[in-house]
Symmetry: C2
Subunit: 216 residues, 2 copies
């Protein structure tokens, strides 16, 4: 199909498609004349993927390029794969992060594999997932917001349930399928979980406080 | 204390404190001379809160002002409160959102209260939490990423566990304490949950694939 048909099929405007081509996010079509190229279904799929990452995923152009690179050129499996997938979408960490509270929490739960994996990483580089937890816990403390140990345990258990279901479903046929699953599962499922938490709070609140009158 | 002491006590530079004062995020101190004002512990607490929202919370200045406004001037309890807290921090939604898939999912789980609450909102305005779920589900579909019903059920159950623990801990003594709890719980706990999910994925992956060799 020509670029105008590709635009129609994908719902992405021609100017945006040309931008993605220039930026190397979308592979070139097969050139049929100096001013024309042919595109196929793979281009439609790729455009829908880019739109999902940039749109609901909320990724920057650089992060999108990074994620697509991981999908196009997978470099490992399972732990390595998870590490690089998380790194592709992780928020930047400050240079100095105190990991003590995060490590103590994970050790208390017996999550030793992920602490040990973090330890074995590059010297001097803070592990993204562990560092992310440390920064998030520090922010709670800074704000004077106390999460009791019981509730923190509920958070850990619930997220383990989520992760267990996700790892059970990990496709193991090709590295590329696995990376795609992990990267998209990280980027695109996060907004689903956060939206479900908000809705569940309302549902639980309605059950606990059946008569909700504004009282101020 | 003077502004230089406030800077030391809070860890926020004087120039930033002056910026927050100008922007109205931090209440003025008590003026003791044309060029001097006195600040107290409430200012230290407020600065730590602002730093947490802007920093780990990743909120914009406008969103931070909105959140602080909700804490300073609470306007309701429970469902209303949850709605306004979520609204304070919710990502912007597109004008047109197809809610059908989100509503069908919640009805399947019997989460009727939150669907009904969304229905009873302002005419023509899409409910933030329900709209957020709809947009997130559409992004999965756009990307061609299939989440099987079983796994979606696990997501719902896990988030309900999280929400139940949170609503059980809701302080009911003053509206202001409740709003603070809900708003900060929304903004500051989200990064904790997402970091825990990533770490749990590693832990579950290490248990499922004990020998993890890069195989490519």
């Amino acid at each position: 199909m020509r670029i105008s048909e590709l635009a129609r099929a994908s719902g992405v405007p021609v100017a945006t498609i040309k931008f993605y081509l220039r930026e190397g996010l979308l592979p070139d079509g097969v050139r049929t004349s100096p001013n024309q190229a042919q595109y196929d279904d793979a281009h439609v799929q790729r455009l829908r993927l880019i739109r999902a990452l940039v749109g609901a995923g909320g990724l920057s152009l650089a992060a999108t390029r990074n994620v697509l690179g991981h999908i196009d050129r997978p470099t490992g499996l399972t732990l390595d794969l998870l590490g690089s997938a998380h790194q592709a979408v992780a928020p930047a960490l400050p240079d100095e992060v105190d990991l003590a509270a995060a490590v103590a929490l994970l050790r208390r739960w017996g999550w030793n594999a992920c602490v040990d994996a973090a330890d074995s990483g590059d010297e001097g580089r803070v592990d993204d997932a562990l560092g992310g937890l440390a920064v998030a816990l520090a922010a709670l403390e800074d704000a004077g917001f106390v999460v009791e140990p019981d509730r923190m345990d509920t958070y850990g258990q619930s997220m383990m349930q989520v992760a267990q279901a996700e790892i059970d479903g990990l496709p193991t046929d090709t590295p590329s399928a696995a990376v795609r699953y992990v990267v998209l599962g990280t980027v695109l499922v996060e907004p689903v979980l956060l939206a479900l938490r908000r809705l569940a709070q309302r549902e639980a609140s309605a059950a606990r406080f059946p008569q909700t009158e504004p009282d101020v």
